[in-house]
């Protein structure tokens, strides 16, 4: 209820100040840093030039985009399938949900290390192939970008699908089951129900999941470092490289700004394309 007191502003103030100082200012500063502010060269575009001249930068852009384009569709289909399975109320559903949600608390570094034990030359995958008499495969071979991509995709699929799953499941739980039942009585097959009733009604949840997942996907880097060392560059990994190993905070900022820009653009694209006509009609 609206109260004309000063209390809410007082309660809010610490957080607002905190965020403005430790978030608002750094973002502005970061963008400025990319343009040379604070460096010996002063205001310049040469750091952007340096970034664009580095072939590893373009490789990392390609890898990051590839990773997202391959991973996200697969991940979303898997998560929706898992959510539907949970909705079917099988026995041990509670146990399944727990195990399927555990990777939520796993960092991408840990995921990389876990799948390293599987993919490494004398790891578990090749061991199992050997038991079956097949030859081992050099999964993490730096000369095969496809295989490296596959390894990274699998590790990230294993780790980050839980986030999409949890968002989709909570969205599904909020859907009244009347809609699905009405569709059943009206003659819809399970696939038709999914296409015409469940998925359209899940659009808000899917939108949130897509935006969150894409932004987080752009920030993955440790998984590739764990699995392939420096052979599979990713955007944030390059930021890290420039800052820590090459001691160039300005180029690092430039790459960071690129990531920021792409994140925002994709978020806007999602918001535009997933807009619901019936929500518009309500206005």
């Amino acid at each position: 209820m609206p109260r004309r007191t000063v209390a809410p502003y007082l309660l809010l103030a610490p957080s607002a100040v905190f965020l403005l100082m430790l978030f608002g200012w750094p973002v502005v500063s970061g963008v400025l840093q990319a343009f040379g502010y604070g460096s010996t060269l002063g205001f310049t575009s040469s750091y952007w030039q340096r970034m664009a001249d580095d072939p590893r930068f373009w490789e990392s852009v390609r890898n990051t985009l590839l990773l997202i384009l391959v991973l996200l569709p697969v991940q979303f289909c898997l998560a929706i399938g898992m959510a539907l399975l949970l909705r079917a109320r099988l026995r041990f559903s509670g146990g399944y949900f727990y195990l399927w949600a555990v990777p939520l608390a796993v960092s991408d570094l840990a995921a990389g290390l876990v799948w390293l034990s599987i993919f490494t030359d004398r790891g578990y995958l090749n061991s199992m192939l050997a038991w079956f008499g097949a030859d081992g495969v050099d999964w993490l071979n730096y000369q095969s970008p496809t295989r490296m991509l596959l390894a990274v995709v699998l590790a990230e699929l294993w780790r980050s699908t839980s986030l999409v799953l949890v968002i989709v499941v909570s969205g599904m739980q909020l859907l009244p089951r009347d809609y699905d039942e009405a569709a059943q009585v009206l003659g819809a097959t399970p696939w038709q129900r999914l296409r015409h009733v469940t998925l359209p009604l899940l659009k808000p949840s899917l939108q949130v999941a897509l935006i969150l997942r894409t932004i987080l996907a752009f920030q993955a880097f440790a998984v590739a470092q764990a699995l392939t060392g420096r052979q599979f560059p990713l955007l944030i990994g390059e930021t890290y490289e420039w800052y820590v190993n090459l001691s160039d905070p300005n180029v690092a900022s430039a790459v960071a700004v690129v990531v920021l820009a792409i994140s925002m653009v994709t978020a806007v694209i999602y918001l535009r394309t997933l807009r619901s006509p019936e929500a518009e009609a309500r206005r």
Partner: protein, 357 residues
Amino acid sequence: MAEIRLRDLVKVFPGQQTPAVDRVSLDIAEGEFMVLLGPSGCGKTTMLRMVAGLELPGSGQVVIGDRDVTYLPPRDRNLSMVFQSYAVFPHRRVRENIGFGLAMRDVPKSEIERKVTWAAELLQLTDYLDRYPAQLSGGQRQRVAVARAIVVDADVLLMDEPLSNLDALLRLGFRAELKKLVGELGTTTLYVTHDQVEALSLGDRVAVMRDGVLQQVAPPLDVYNTPVNEFVGGFIGSPPMNFLTGTVHNGHVDLGGASLTAPKALRSFTGRQVRLGVRAEAVRLVGESAPGAVPARVEVYEPLGSAALVTTTVAGQQMKVQAPATFRARPGETLWLDLPETRRRWFDPETALALET
């Protein structure tokens, strides 16, 4: 159009001790409008859902027409349903909602177009076809739900308390419309409600349920006038039937303040107690000197506009009397009541069953 035959249906929900539906059998004739009536939790909705296929029975059989459909999924049963919450898809326009069932069965577009227009006209939705459900009122969404159900032209029409979410005035108006509409279509209908007025108004026959068991299945006036037990008598009618306890002594029933002639059938009850049921509007106000007049003390007087409801006590037992609107009474007054013989119903106090007289 098809008849429905239900045999010995049982449904026990996991974790529950008593069955929700306890060996219920019911026949619904072709084109009949059958109302399942009962208090919340009596199992009527579970019955409907078993006919629809949204629940599967533990045992028993559901036959529609000549097919056994007991375990068939809903989409193979060729029926349609109106839900209590309407379940009108919010992300589709009214037009697509109504045509949903037809679209799912791959009916050609022109045919869908034609049928949707027909249904929309029947339910006065023609102006709203291109709107989204969020832009409609509750009553209009209700119509969309009904239109969607009738356009499919199914064998059986199921309705789960479709009017209960409407406000009182809308409910009254739509009830009459629904009766006319379904009457014209002639589809076999199974209608579930807890509102006994709806049941009496709409049904060809009314099936009263309690705790998973059918109490009585009969046309509305029979259920009203000759209830088979005290529960049915008390559930149907507003105000509910009055029940008084009395003792039988040689040909009379002693109510404690008055005495009524006992019918011959009650002779076996001599010396024992018996229950008398009589409806509030059957009771007549008479003078003190009238033969068989029963004294009653006025407790509460409620003017209802079209009539007056007087709560009285007869020998310590409550009796509600419906009087003409012009009648006046004050608490503490004594009235003299006549309980016409033809309107008296007798019940066995142990089994609560009506006694044949």
